[in-house]
């Protein structure tokens, strides 16, 4: 007899027996929306929630699959897009006069790299972001700390800073050019201004939102003002401050693009300007891709810093040791 037949006959037998007792469950289950097949009354239903009695080759393979997936899956869309793009270009569906093929862009990048222009412009742009962002973020942090920690300074500065914040800093570009010409200063000042306010606002907000219970605790444990700031207020405000920094870095790149496009003699933005005049669409697209990579890389770095500094935080904790 086949196993399935054995089971079938057993079920039939139990059904017969249970008909006599008519348990409530059997009649109630259709109303509860349970679908076929109904377990017969009296028949025990086993649901395996987990079974790790035999850690199998299968589960290990699944773990391998998982790490492979988290590594490879994020690349699927960009690479797929690249292939589709190349395909559309080479088959002529999309004219390379409108959008150059990825291979053309690669060639353009190689040509520029051979002449050393590409490296030079990238380094120049990186340097500008680094200097401008450092000045702006540091300023935002210091102002934020001063305003967040000292109430008189809050009263003195906060309203003015909030007013300046509402001015789109890019609106100052013409003024900057008039004041400073097209030298290095206007770009650095603009990048710094763009980075300052996100850090400032998040620092002040982070300090204001520190759990008052922890501050009360610190005071009742005899912490002085400086120790209270160092041991409790700053660590508690660290997460919003880092969020502000991440956001500020994005603004820094955005500002740099505008700054370099309008008035510049070098940098990635200058590359774009020059390419526009020479009708080199491939270089324009190359520059856009460079910006994307730069933005992605700087975000990656800040995320790594976040994970290190906030490793005690439930959202970042992947290891528990201090």
């Amino acid at each position: 007899m086949a196993p399935s037949q054995v089971r079938r006959s057993k079920v039939d037998f139990m059904t017969d027996a249970s008909l006599l007792s008519r348990p409530v469950d059997a009649t109630a289950s259709p109303a509860a929306g349970r679908t076929e097949p109904f377990p017969r009354a009296g028949e025990s239903v086993v649901t395996v929630v987990a079974d790790v009695t035999r850690p199998s080759e299968l589960s290990r393979a699944r773990a391998r699959g998982l790490s492979w997936r988290s590594f490879a899956l994020p690349w699927l869309l960009p690479l797929g897009l690249l292939f589709v793009w190349q395909f559309l270009s080479t088959t002529g569906i999309v004219s390379t006069a409108i959008v150059p093929a990825p291979s053309d862009i690669w060639d353009a990048a190689q040509q520029l790299a051979e002449r050393g222009e590409l490296q030079h412009d990238i380094l120049i742009s990186l340097r500008r972001v680094a200097i401008g962002f450092s000045i702006g973020a540091l300023g935002g942090l210091l102002f934020g700390l001063a305003v967040g920690l000292f109430e008189p300074l809050h009263d003195l500065f906060d309203r003015s800073l909030q007013m300046i914040r509402t001015i789109p800093h890019l609106a100052l570009v013409p003024l900057m050019i008039l004041w400073f010409g097209i030298g290095e200063e206007p770009r650095l000042i603009l990048v710094a201004m763009g980075s300052l306010f996100p850090v400032y606002i998040n620092t002040v907000g982070g300090i204001c939102n520190v759990d008052p219970k922890l501050i009360e605790l610190g005071k009742s444990y005899g912490l002085g003002r400086a120790e209270l700031v160092w041991s409790i207020i700053l660590p508690a405000a660290l997460q919003p401050i880092l969020v502000g920094m991440r956001y500020a870095l994005g603004v820094a790149w955005l500002t740099l693009v505008v700054g370099e496009t309008i008035a510049s003699r070098d940098g990635v933005g200058y590359l774009v300007q020059n390419a526009r005049e020479l009708l080199r669409i491939d270089i324009i697209v190359l520059a856009i891709i460079l910006y994307a990579i730069a933005g992605w890389l700087s975000d990656l770095i800040t995320r790594l810093i976040e994970r290190r500094l906030l490793r005690w935080h439930p959202n970042y904790a992947d290891r528990v040791k201090a």
Binding site: K213, L214, E216, L217, G218, S220, Y221, G222, L223, E227, S231, I232, P235, A236, L238, R311, W312, H313, P314, A317, V320, K321, A322
Partner: protein
């Protein structure tokens, strides 16, 4: 007797016109373990916070007296209030320079040896309160104030923490004021139980049963019934007002 003595003279506290405590007089002898019970909202925690100096009374005078030094007061809250960015050891050492060995010893005493370098995020609720207890005790306080510190713990962990607290106090006696909603906890641990209601102390009960005490003890059970009755009438009165 080690520990600080506490005296309150006509102490009152009101929040925004609502009187929580009214003309409270209270003396706590050095080394006494006092529990404060009462219906919720009766001002138990307010009384404790006044003694801790966390809030200022609206009127009256509060004095602490210790021998040889200014009374050191430490408070344990219902929430553990651990600093999540500090390791267990550094949480215990909050406000202290050096003394790592003392901290290690006191963590051993509360059963957390080997966990010094972990962040609080990896600890259970009971373990976190043990760290908070260690953080309070490392100061060798003359007066230990406990604001429902075990209230959020499960029954078994709570019993373990009560036992631990009792052992630590036998080793190093000091004055303790415990606010609790658990009458049994109050009777297990304290020399004296205060029932706070209607802004004042409604009952003041000396309970000198020998230790260690047991939950099944008939004297304890009788008193528990009596106090629970008192609490229930108080709750009924509050409900009638509301």
């Amino acid at each position: 007797m080690s520990g600080a003595s506490v005296s309150l003279r006509s102490v009152g506290k009101s929040f925004a016109g609502r009187t929580v405590l009214d003309d409270v007089d209270l003396d706590i002898a050095a080394g006494q373990f006092v529990s404060i019970i009462g219906p919720s909202g009766a001002g138990k925690s307010t009384l404790l916070r006044l003694v801790a100096g966390l809030d200022a009374p609206s009127g009256g005078r509060i004095e602490l007296r210790a021998t040889g030094r200014k009374a050191d007061v430490r408070m344990m809250f219902q929430e553990d209030r651990l600093l999540p960015w500090r390791s267990v050891l550094r949480n215990v050492l909050l406000g202290i320079k050096g003394r790592k060995q003392d901290a290690g010893r006191i963590l051993d005493a509360v059963g957390l040896q080997g966990r010094e370098s972990e962040f609080p995020i990896g600890l259970s609720g009971g373990q976190r309160q043990r760290v908070a207890l260690a953080r309070a005790l490392i100061h060798e306080p003359d007066l230990l104030l406990l604001d429902e510190p075990f209230g959020a713990l499960d029954a078994i962990t709570r019993a373990a923490m009560q036992l631990l607290l009792e052992q630590l106090l036998v080793a190093r006696p000091r004055t303790v004021v415990l606010v609790t909603h658990d009458v049994e906890e109050a009777l297990l641990l304290s020399d004296r139980v205060l029932l706070v209601k209607d802004g004042g102390i409604a009952r003041d009960l000396i309970f000198d049963q020998p230790r260690p005490r047991h939950r099944g003890d008939p004297a304890l059970a009788t008193l528990k019934e009596e106090l629970l009755d008192g609490l229930l009438t108080a709750e009924r009165d509050l409900a009638a007002v509301a």
